[in-house]
Amino acid sequence: MPHTRQPGSVGPVKKQFHTFCEPPHELELEGGGRLGPITLAYETYGRLNREKSNAILILHALTGDSHAAGIYAEDDPKPGWWDYLIGPGRPVDTDKYFVICSNVIGGCQGSTGPASVNPATGRPYGLTFPVITVNDMVRAQAHLLDHMGIDRLLAVLGGSMGGMQALVWSVLFPDRIMAAIPIATTAKHSPQQIAFNQVGRAAIMADSHFNGGDYYGGEIPRSGLSLARMVGHITYRSDEAMHERFGRKLRGKKALGYNFGIDFEVESFLHYQGDSFVERFDANAYLYITKAIDYFDLSMPSGSLTAELARAKCKFLVVSFSSDWLYPPYQSKEVVKSLLVNGIDATYCEIETRFGHDAFLLPGEMDTIIGNFLANLASRGGIKAPSVS
């Protein structure tokens, strides 16, 4: 690696791809149906040790991707979404750990999703793509680890939808992880969470360009997807954070317009977020992924979260944020309660912050907590850093 990288950053990284589940060995999906071949886009940072025991899987949120850290080119202005957390000497220390982050199935950042070409028809799947679940996302990740020859992960770590995947890992593959770190998440989507997602989906499907999901090669449902993103952004921020950032400041004017143009900073911000999102995200992928998290309910099939979590064998670090009203702390506490009833080793932190759900993507107290938790886990588990090459 060239010595141009910034201290603390993993520096230039490359997106990689792995294709598996070729017919007739398709992945059996939870909701019925089969999917294959499947490609996962992924990135890795740091090096695997000889025992292959120092791997950490990072799990991204709804609109995240495999680019968790580093930069794609020297002049890349924007590093990966968890860059401040992952790197040499950083809490998820790439001098010690081998870090993997893959894009979920159903997504649109290189992994197989509704915008991918269906090999059977030669055309994009669109709405013929099967409905997938969080369990399906995790099963696909397990295939990637098989391919890398990694039997057991040191930890799985993610926020929001990433936290749901971390929880699923603990019950679906209890022998393959030493620790799960679910952050700002829930064991099941609440009616309020489903409701917000439904507004987003309805906006996309009501767009005149949606065309039953078959819009590839033509006009895309731009305004619907943008609106979905605007709603999402409201839920990611606390009332207090919005006061602080926008207040009632006017946008580019000194007085109210008394018309239906943009008056307020907050309106302008939401439109900007919506418009820029459309450039990088596929509307169908938004439908599929929000549906997957709406279906998410770790207490199924038995109906008891405690009974389902009884299968877990790993240590847990559960983190919530005080002002997160999208995934409020009580949802994390429900997870912790079920862990305690099962006698499972759990740590729970409720971090005081005014940044709402977004707090899990911002530098703060969480970083040290995660760093210390991982360091203790590795030292007590006798996990060796990769030898210096």
């Binding site: 670090l317 009833v341 729970y348 932190c349 409720e350 971090i351 107290e365 210390n372 203790n376």
Partner: protein, 209 residues
Amino acid sequence: MSPLTRIDHSVILGLIPHGARVLDLGCGDGSLLDKLVRERGVRGTGIEIDDAGVRDCIAKGLPVLQGDIDEGLRDFPDGSIDYVILNQTIQAAKKPVVVLQEMLRVGRKGIVGFPNFAYWRMRWHLLTRGRMPRTDFLHYEWYDTPNIHFCSIRDFDRYCEKTGIVVEKRIFINTGGGGKVYGGGRPNLFAENAVYLLSAPPGGFRKED
């Protein structure tokens, strides 16, 4: 506070058998729990409300739950812990009665360490100066103290008698001279601190559904 910390910690360490499951309520920075894990090989968890305390516990590699001890025990099943510790914390509990019942529901045994408010220095302070007593470990002013439920050794004995809580052992401690166990008479007058080993009354406390 350091001499007391050492002596009360070593007293508590002496009460807990190797490998026990331990819950430390109001565990602070986890120093007692850390000693229990290292020296006694316990499986321990702490409950702490304060951010800094929780961070310190995680840095020590101790499982810790951030929460209020007045509510924090609710999630634990009956008898799921061998020893529940409440050291230098009961006087700050909002509902000490609930906490005591809960700790003896969750724990097969409970350990309570508390400052004796009838210690002669306290009485002397109040008698001669007519002001709220302050000592090395009770260093707050009346208006900023988190301590809202003080009791004396005699008060605590009476409470256990009344409720049927079984006192298996009482150990008295003074902090003077680096801290030592007090074995003399009239502990309610001459002991600064007490550590009680408790178990539930016959029939026990059960979770209300």
